[in-house]
């Protein structure tokens, strides 16, 4: 039997961490773009679009991410294309992230005082101008901490893609465990790597919240 040193285990896990990071970035950036689209549907004037965005968010927040991954994996397959795990993982995570970000941002836009809308429209600004110059710059400020905080959920969410066969940190953990028979060490290390990825994000979210809130409190 081959002996595995701690370094062997750690090296393999760290190599797989690349894919966790990459998938997190893809999911977050893609989700943010789709989330902006959803946000505009949700707060816009068209009733049908508002309803669509609302149902979309309800649907994705009310069902397990794992099920969404399965449905993406097998659902895309129904279209007759051969679906690699990474594609299903990316699609599902982007759709899931978009739902949560849209809902977070909606809260931020709605937190802007109504008087701001009224004041800007009394200055003769159109909807887009109001958004561009009055509402979004203020909403952006309060949106940053919860958005950074949610990125932690995205990183943790990528762990589920191991179940549909995408080889990232969690899957590598399972594979290394099967080779070394040291689940305690391996999963402990996997947890520590996730912690090293997520904790700085959580902490910076807290710090940003404290910093950006200072201006808000003085109003």
């Amino acid at each position: 039997m081959i002996e595995f040193s701690l370094w062997d285990i750690l090296r393999n896990l760290l190599l797989a961490t690349r894919w966790t990071v990459l998938l997190s970035l893809v999911a977050f950036i893609g989700g943010a773009l789709a989330g902006i689209l959803l946000l505009f549907m949700r707060i816009g004037k068209r009733r049908a679009l508002r309803l669509f965005a609302k149902c979309y968010v309800e649907l994705f927040q009310g069902t397990p991410l794992l099920m969404q991954l399965f449905l993406a994996f097998f659902g895309l397959g129904l279209l007759g294309i051969d679906v690699p795990a990474w594609l299903a993982a990316a699609v599902a995570l982007i759709l899931w992230t978009a739902a949560f970000l849209a809902e977070i941002w909606r809260g931020c836009v709605e937190a802007i005082a109504k008087g701001q809308w009224e004041a800007s429209s009394s200055l003769g600004m159109g909807y887009l101008q109001q958004m561009r110059y009055v509402i979004l710059p203020q909403a952006l400020r309060i949106a940053i901490p919860p958005t950074v905080g949610f990125s932690v959920q995205v990183v943790k969410g990528t762990a589920l893609t191991s179940i549909i066969g995408f080889v990232e940190l969690s899957k590598a953990g399972t594979m290394v465990t099967n080779a070394t028979f040291q689940p305690f060490t391996v999963y402990g290390l996997v947890a520590l790597i996730y912690f090293a990825l997520c904790w700085p994000l959580s902490k910076s979210s807290q710090i940003l919240e404290r910093k950006l809130n200072v201006a808000h409190r003085n109003h």
Binding site: L59, G62, T63, P64, L65, L66, M67, Q68, F70, L71, F74, G75, G77, L78, L79, G80, V152, K156, G157, A159, L160, S162, I163, S170, G173, T174, T177, Q182, P183, F184, Y187, G188, V190, A191, Y194, F195, C198, W199, S202
Partner: protein
């Protein structure tokens, strides 16, 4: 696309789904009660507990909140037996859910406690209540009432997250879906139906928690 959807298997396999639903409900019931209890204890320990305990609780909360539930589950189910802690799949699943919810609810409850005005606990002390009495009646219950909506959402999140316990062969709803798709080769339909059931469960759980909220906080501090 020439795929024909087929839900005929439902006639034969609905008892499997039903059993899965029962297990999921059981898991979240035990998980929610014990998890919130653990959260209350941790919040108490952080606010009033012995000094040495506080960093331990902080470490626990940070560690759980910054690692995926799947890894916590694997660590408990595959890792702990090497320390001599053997558990069944369901026990491991439930333990993981309790530990997970405990950390999140600790943080939520702590936020509620911090929002409690300082004068309240001073008032409690001036009425000759013991610190424990003050904590229980003056701090905790109003705080819980304040954060009940946030706590409820967290319970729903843990219920949805419990789908991954199928990975250690705990026989929940997702496990049932996996079982059915392996028998019928109707993967999309099986997951579609179970996703719909999860959605209904999430909606129902929100209603139940709202009802529980009005039951245990009967217009206490409503002016």
């Amino acid at each position: 696309m020439k795929y024909v959807f087929d839900f005929a298997w439902l006639g034969q396999y609905w008892p499997v789904l039903l059993k899965g639903v029962a297990v999921t409900i059981g898991l979240i019931t035990v998980g929610a009660v014990l998890g919130i209890a653990l959260g209350i204890f941790c919040a108490w320990a952080r606010a009033l507990g012995p000094k040495w305990l506080r960093p331990v609780i902080t470490a626990y909360v940070e560690l759980i909140r910054n690692t995926p539930f799947l890894i916590q589950l694997f660590f408990i189910f595959f890792g702990l037996p090497s320390l001599g802690l053997q558990m069944s799949e369901l026990q491991a699943a439930n333990l993981a859910m309790v530990v997970n919810l405990g950390a999140y609810s600790c943080e939520i409850i702590r936020a509620g406690i911090q929002a409690a005005p300082r004068g309240q606990s001073e008032a409690g002390a001036s009425l000759a209540m013991s610190p424990i009495q003050t904590f229980r009646h003056v701090i905790l219950v109003p705080s819980l009432q304040r954060i009940w909506p946030a706590l409820s959402s967290q319970v729903v999140i843990v219920m949805l997250g419990s789908a991954v316990v199928s990975q250690i062969a705990a026989e929940d709803l997702t496990y049932a879906a996996n079982f059915i798709q392996s028998r019928t080769f109707r993967a999309f339909e099986a997951y579609f139906v179970s996703t719909a059931i999860y959605l209904l469960l999430a909606i129902a759980l929100r209603q139940v928690l709202a009802a529980v909220g009005t039951m245990i906080f009967p217009r206490r501090s409503r002016q």
